[in-house]
């Protein structure tokens, strides 16, 4: 075994340990931290899927709140009218997010750049308006309330997720699954092709890639992630609301992706952690959290273009280079 491979293995073990510690931390530091941990996990799922579209395929959507809401209402309605079992609900949420993304994507995918963004914004807001106005089904702006967190029953096995910790572990497990899938997608031929589309759609087309179809596929996958996150949030907060589809909510995955780093797998997850933690910390010191948050955003955009992950990587690289030089 070469020393380099040994240190790589060491680094990998270290990062796994760090991840495990990070996951365990909320469990050890009280209920509220656990609750925030769940929110970080949900936002991270939302963002990780979203970044397959933004960071990987190069499409800036302003409508993913709509798919999030589709998932949320799918789970909510399923739970209230069909079965409270979380698994069919989550499956339905995922499918609803994907289906909504398929329909919206079909119309939007041919537009380019800003026009694509604005079209997705329009469709997201249409979903918002529909949810708001379909009061009989959705409860209007009051939202869909009273969804309960039933246990996951698999034959004789029953997983109770009503407690914070259990639900946190479920959310983290789903996040891990989401990250694993995103990781596999990124290093697959499909992921490479998406990156090619991001880098140069015209060249990709002339390389024999049906660009629109691939973009649509990425759009639908990210929609499915959004739907899953939306469904999970309904389980967490026991309500679904139209503002989930609002463009301000669609902006959140963009924010966390940029915050964490657009071009890395972990970027959105790290960005979600930073986003939730930052707001929480700032809010303890000042009512003017918007001001503080705005300033932090400025610093990150102007100072750390690769996001947090990018900055850390650059730092590590510099250290390694510094060590190698003498």
């Amino acid at each position: 075994m070469s020393p380099a491979a040994g240190s790589r293995r060491g680094a990998r073990a270290l990062s796994w340990a760090a991840a495990a510690a990070l996951v365990a931390l909320p469990l050890l530091s009280g209920k509220f931290a656990t609750y925030l941990g769940v929110r970080v996990a949900l936002l991270a799922i939302f963002g990780t899927g979203y970044n397959l579209l933004l960071g990987r395929t190069g499409l800036l959507s302003f409508g993913h709140g709509g798919f999030y809401a589709a998932g949320a209402y799918a789970l909510g309605l399923c739970s209230l009218h069909l079965t409270a079992h979380p698994l069919p609900g989550l499956a339905l949420a995922l499918a609803a997010g994907a289906a909504a993304a398929l329909v919206v994507g079909f119309f939007c995918i041919r537009a380019s750049e800003v026009y694509f963004s604005m079209l997705t914004l329009a469709f997201g807001m249409l979903i918002f308006a529909v949810v708001w106005n379909a009061r009989e089904i959705t409860g209007g702006d009051d939202g869909l309330v009273g969804v309960m967190r039933a246990p996951i029953a698999l034959g004789p096995l029953r997983l109770d997720i009503a407690g914070e910790r259990a639900f946190y572990l479920l959310a983290v497990a789903l996040l891990a699954g989401s990250l694993w899938l995103a990781h596999r997608l990124r290093r697959s031929p499909f992921g490479l092709t998406l990156a090619g589309i991001r880098e140069n759609p015209v060249r990709a087309e002339f390389a024999g890639v049906p660009v629109r179809r691939y973009r649509l596929a990425a759009f639908v996958i990210s929609g499915a992630y959004a739907g899953l996150a939306g469904g999970l949030e309904v389980l967490l907060e026991s309500n679904a609301r139209p503002t989930m589809a609002h463009w301000t909510h669609s902006a959140e995955p963009i924010l966390v992706s940029l915050l964490g780093g657009l071009h890395s797998l972990l970027g959105p997850a790290v960005g979600s952690l930073a986003f939730v933690a930052l707001r929480e910390v700032v809010q303890r010191f000042t009512e003017n959290w918007m001001l503080a948050f705005g300033v932090v955003l400025l610093v990150i955009i102007l100072g750390f273009r690769g996001g947090i992950v990018g900055a850390v990587e650059a730092g590590l690289r510099a250290r390694r280079a510094g060590r190698a030089a003498p």
Partner: protein
């Protein structure tokens, strides 16, 4: 008939506000290639600063509307010179995020300076106060004034861009900034100037909105910026002609929608934008940017 005329008038006056905000947005996009989320904040700042000046300069409210936006230009200058300049070369998401950060900052600053509560301008608009009877129904003189201001601004902008040497330089820099730089145009300074001018337009919209809306709140720029975005996109990004037309269409359509198809009023402008973009992917007068 009476109803239709008044619906159209209401739509026109509303459309002219959107136009004033969208014109600055469009100009900035057309020349700098930046989508400025913070443009709504300049609208808000225009309203607040003018509001304070109205009190100080009472009863000459029009002076406040003249000077208020100029004060806001300072904010525009600072944003462009110290921050925006750094992200011209970056992708769209970074630009949006940067300007979004300023939305948060300005909203919060306004709250700190002017308070969280809504502010209400005192009455007193001199000759523009009161209403006139049109077809047996009252219509505010001030709204008529706004309806007149919109096309005047459009005309002035057109003349400025098409008929003056500054306009020629701006257009040259907009179509090819490297070429303009090679010809000796100081592009950074020009961009700063255009951004300040765009800021001024947005702030004028805000100043004019003070008596029209009657309420000032931190965050008042957020809803109008979305409408202005839609108008700018509908007309074709970078096209002032398109933005003007788009604002008229959105204003009037919204008024008709509220009156005749209330079920759709929240979705109407989005439906319209989606429909236009599906037929014309670059808006009404949009051209491809390289």
């Amino acid at each position: 008939m009476q109803s239709i005329v008044h619906v159209v008038l209401a739509g026109l006056s509303n459309g002219m506000f959107i136009w004033l905000v969208a014109s600055g947005l469009t100009l900035i996009f057309g020349v700098l290639g930046v989508l400025n989320f913070a443009h709504g904040s300049f609208y808000m700042l225009g309203a607040y600063v003018s509001f304070s000046l109205v009190r100080a300069l009472s009863p000459h409210f029009y002076l406040a509307m003249l000077f208020g936006p100029l004060v806001v230009c300072l904010a525009g200058w600072a944003v462009e010179r110290w921050f925006l300049r750094a992200v011209y070369r970056l992708e769209l998401p970074y630009q949006l995020l940067l300007t979004f950060a300023f939305v948060l900052i300005f909203d919060n600053l306004v709250k700190i300076v002017w308070g969280a509560g809504a502010l209400h301008p005192p009455p007193g608009l001199g000759p523009l106060e009161g209403s006139v009877e049109i077809l047996g129904r009252k219509f505010p003189i001030y709204s008529l004034f706004v309806i007149a201001v919109g096309p005047l601004v459009a005309l002035a902008l057109w003349a400025l861009l098409e008929r003056t040497w500054i306009g020629r330089i701006v257009r040259a820099a907009a179509s090819d900034r490297e070429m303009a730089a090679a010809l000796g145009v100081r592009v950074p300074a020009l961009f700063t100037g255009v951004f300040i001018f765009g800021t001024w337009l947005g702030a004028v919209g805000g100043a004019l909105a003070v008596p029209y809306v009657g309420v000032l709140t931190p965050g008042m720029g957020e809803s109008i910026i979305i409408e202005a975005f839609i108008v700018a996109v509908l007309g074709g990004l970078g096209s002032l002609k398109g933005a003007f037309l788009g604002a008229l269409v959105i204003g009037v359509l919204n008024a008709f929608g509220t009156r005749f198809f209330p079920a759709f009023d929240m979705a109407l402008i989005f439906l319209l934008m989606a429909a236009v973009l599906l037929v014309r992917p670059r808006g009404l007068f949009g051209v491809a940017r390289s």
